[in-house]
């Protein structure tokens, strides 16, 4: 499996043509070390989009980040989905697959949003068992992402950081560290993001996500919409995280209000600077 480091972009279809022009040598090379895709957008699908992905992955590493594993869900694993996901991840040549530490199914339906798990012992046992099963069936390492949330569902028996550590260790899976999610949760729930970050099992980090967010007055909450430029405070958290974990792939996520690729690349250069500052702090 290839070792992927540096800074990358979520591959969005609105700039697919520009990426293709670059990998075909008809436009300047992009300062993007890797791309990341959501498998569910490519599975069970033919035509232009998967064809373009196949061409891009010949030139640039592509990571796999799923949305619908529902690792905390109560329904049995979907065998057909896992089989197809396995084919997709292996075909992509991705060194690992990631999804979110959440549930996104209930009563056999799909919530299409990432809902938080209660920080209780029963959830640790349940999720860890499912994560071990998925990891074994995928045949590549699995990483789970700390999510943003707006409700703490139920009475917690332990802290979020302790919950994360327990799940990851019991399942023996990696951590996809989303520093924007930490920032959003810290603002909405009033805790210190640095203290939280320091309490995480950073030795398990295999990738980092950064993104932008917005404040929605109606809900009086910061909403993790991946629809704005990454704030400096989030990049500061990135720098700190990189100084602790060392070189890993760092992804800039942008899923709404996606600007032109040229603007995204400028933002990515800010991410790269924070990443390099983190590596320099680590080396110092």
């Amino acid at each position: 499996m290839p070792v992927v480091n540096g800074v990358g972009l979520g591959l969005r279809w609105c700039f697919l043509e520009e990426v293709l022009e670059s990998v075909r040598g008809r436009a300047a090379p992009l300062a993007v070390d890797f791309f990341e895709v959501c498998p569910e957008n490519y599975m069970r699908r033919g035509g232009y989009i998967p064809s373009a992905l196949a061409e891009i992955r010949e030139h640039t590493p592509v990571l796999s980040h799923g949305l619908t594993l529902s690792i905390g869900g109560l329904e049995p694993q979907d065998d057909a989905y896992l089989a197809e996901l396995t084919r997709f991840v292996r075909g992509l040549g991705a060194p690992f697959h990631s999804d979110h530490l959440c549930f996104s199914t209930a009563g056999g339906r799909f919530t299409h949003d990432l809902l938080p798990l209660p920080f209780i012992g029963e959830a640790i046992t349940h999720v860890a068992a499912r994560a071990r099963e998925v990891r074994e069936r995928l045949g590549v390492p699995l990483a789970l992402e700390n999510i943003s949330y707006y409700v703490r569902p139920g009475a917690a028996e332990l802290s979020e950081a302790a919950f994360l550590r327990a799940v990851l260790e019991e399942a023996d899976v990696g951590l996809l560290l989303d520093v924007n999610n930490i920032f959003v949760n810290a603002k909405n729930f009033g805790f210190d993001p640095v203290t939280f970050l320091e309490a995480l099992p950073l030795e398990r980090v295999v990738q980092i996500h950064v993104a932008g967010h917005c404040y929605v007055e109606r809900y009086e909450r910061i909403i993790d919409n991946h629809g704005a430029e990454t704030r400096d405070e989030v990049l500061d958290l990135l720098e700190l995280a990189v100084s602790r974990v060392g070189p890993v792939p760092v992804l800039l996520e942008r899923d709404s209000n996606v600007p032109p690729l040229s603007e995204l690349l400028v933002e990515l250069s800010r991410v790269r600077s924070a990443y390099q500052r983190g590596l320099a702090r680590r080396a110092a």
């Binding site: 569910e40 957008n41 599975m43 069970r44 699908r45 033919g46 035509g47 232009y48 989009i49 998967p50 064809s51 619908t68 905390g72 869900g73 109560l74 979907d78 989905y81 197809e84 084919r87 997709f88 549930f103 209930a106 009563g107 056999g108 339906r109 799909f110 919530t111 299409h112 949003d113 809902l115 938080p116 209660p118 209780i120 029963e122 959830a123 349940h126 068992a129 707006y150 409700v151 703490r152 569902p153 139920g154 009475a155 917690a156 929605v216 109606r218 809900y219 009086e220 909450r221 909403i223 919409n225 709404s256």
Partner: protein
Amino acid sequence: MTPSPRLRSIYEVMAASLTEPDAPERRGELGRGWLEDRGLHPADLEALAAVDDRSFFAYRHLLRNNLREAIDNQLSRTRALLGERLDADIDAYFSSGLPTSRYLRDVAFELVDFATPRWRSAQDVPPFAAELALFELRSFESSVAVRPAASAARAVPKLELAAPVVLDESVKVTRYAYPVHELADGARELEARPTALLVYRDRDFELRFLELSPLAASIVERLLAGAALGEAITASCAAASTPISPELLGEIAQLLSDYAERGIVLGSPADPTFEPTDEPASE
């Protein structure tokens, strides 16, 4: 593994909150009263009752925006036709339950299934709205059909009357009461005209549309169902009370040749040299 009742009750509450209508006047409704009798552990009930219900509504906001964006992407012309009316249909669809598919692109199909009876009985919805939505969905299905088009066209595919004909995976034939593919941007009126439309994806991944005669539509529909070529022609002509003549067979041969050039007709499984695709399907 037996699912934990405690986890189940929490999940059900969270999922139920997603489909609750959001409105400023509903502030406070997702409090203790809403949470009681949902089987929550007493400690979880207390914790969730203390949550500002705007947090629950924030989830609903995110979900609704997410799904609406996916629906608008696939039903852009239906959105243009129905405008804000479509939002009311989306709200009603959400209130009926969460999607049954993990794939966002399936949500538009579920919405159209749900909304079609509403549209057909609504006075403020043009009578062709459901067909326009169906047309958009069929087009989408064709654009994402899994099997890629053959890499090279055969000038003269070797077809046999006794064998089926392999058509490209993207080929769909749909019959409409209105020529919805001709609806101009911004138009709200369309004259009814029975229309059989073939949609396919060409070798450059562009969608193409062909309006078919009733006889051609019948033949292609039968071929899509797996009938042998001769059987498809004979049955279609019989159904249309059209006598089979040398001239008609010549026209059909010409039509199939045109379809082969377009990449619609790929060949025949009876042809030992025939290889239907240049890539395996992904499923």
